[in-house]
Amino acid sequence: MEKLDLKLDVFEGPLDLLLHLIEKNKFNIFDIPIVEITRQYLDYLDQMEEENMDIMSEFLVMAATLISIKSKMLLPKEETEEEEEEDPRAELVKSLLEYKMYKYASSELKDMSIDAANAFYKEPTIPKEVKQVKEEVDPAELIGDMTMQKLNEIFKTLLRREIDRVDPVRSKFGTITKEEIRLEDKMVEIQNEVRGLKSINFKTLLGSKRGKLNLIVSFLAILELMKSGVLLIRQEEMFGDILIDSLE
């Protein structure tokens, strides 16, 4: 794989990075090879320094979007539908084009500003004879029919807005209750099950888990173990059995 020695802060955001990848590979923006671009995008994220979680999270949201598009495209299309299904990439292409349009506009503006910065403006030089005593603003006239009651309403509105501005996603998390099945425990459990076996069928492994939550946490545990290099997942053919190898 080509070494990507680019820094995260080179890009203004995920769309900027995607446009860069599209242009570098000379991909057609209206027919983006989603598998390839997702691979390159994720490779890039892997090399990113994870110091800045704020920036990182924005890039991760895009990664999730790409993976979601990729999975939609891999799924067999439902033939029963009469009308043509929308390309899962349509929304992304729209965003990319819009972003590209403003990026183009901003480069045009940049050129214009370089030129315009060469003009000088003048401070007022009003002759003494013309200048009257500095006009006093009458605060009473300024305030007009504003009352303390109205000012109070304005302040209350502001306080409301400030509270409304709370992160709409995080603020909906509500109370976090103790997990019934802990991911850490499940990882140890699966690691123990797989250890010693050369490989195990994914279905067999999950088949031993009872309950929805148990299944979900088991699935997450497998992903975690895969990510940390304890397990290797293989699928020899499309829709074939998924095999889990222990690398320990």
């Binding site: 995920p14 057609n28 315009a116 060469n118 000088f120």
Partner: protein, 198 residues
Amino acid sequence: MSDTESQVNIKAAVEAILFATGTAIEATKLMAALGTEEEPIGKKEFKAAIDELMSEYEAEDRGIRLIELDGKYQLCTKNDYYDVLAKIVNMPRKHSLTDVLLETLSIVAYKQPVTRAEIEKIRGVSCNHAVNKLVEYNLICEVGRLDAPGHPILFGTTDDFLRCFGISSMDELPDISPDKIEDFRRQAEAEAGIEVPT
């Protein structure tokens, strides 16, 4: 007062006012000051004088020019004399705009009035810092509140924005209509050497 004579005086008066104040003055204000209560100056007469003044300033031996900013008029130096001016006037160089600021600014310019959320949607990243900087530089400002939950602030561009980019009104912004997107499409076609379905 003959027509020609009054026109001469209008030109001179406009020059005197714009020179002394140094700021952008509304056309309506100039017209009010130039006329008398009995005989206010006409729009047509005023515009003719302004146009004449503008073209006279264009002459090669003039170092200043008359610019229009959204219905206001202002005098400023010609760009050509930046270097010679820099030798005498110790003016701080304008803050250079980073790419992030320029991107945010162009979205505000073309989509105004616009909320932070809309800007973020287009850029794909949060824009608080950029918006605050642009407000600080007086290139954008609050123009109202959106009638929606939370009443988010709506932003628009300022006169300083026009000055910063050397344009008289928003109509002079570079064209980025859907045609431009069409251009991108064609470009993509040419690059890929294929026909892209429209």
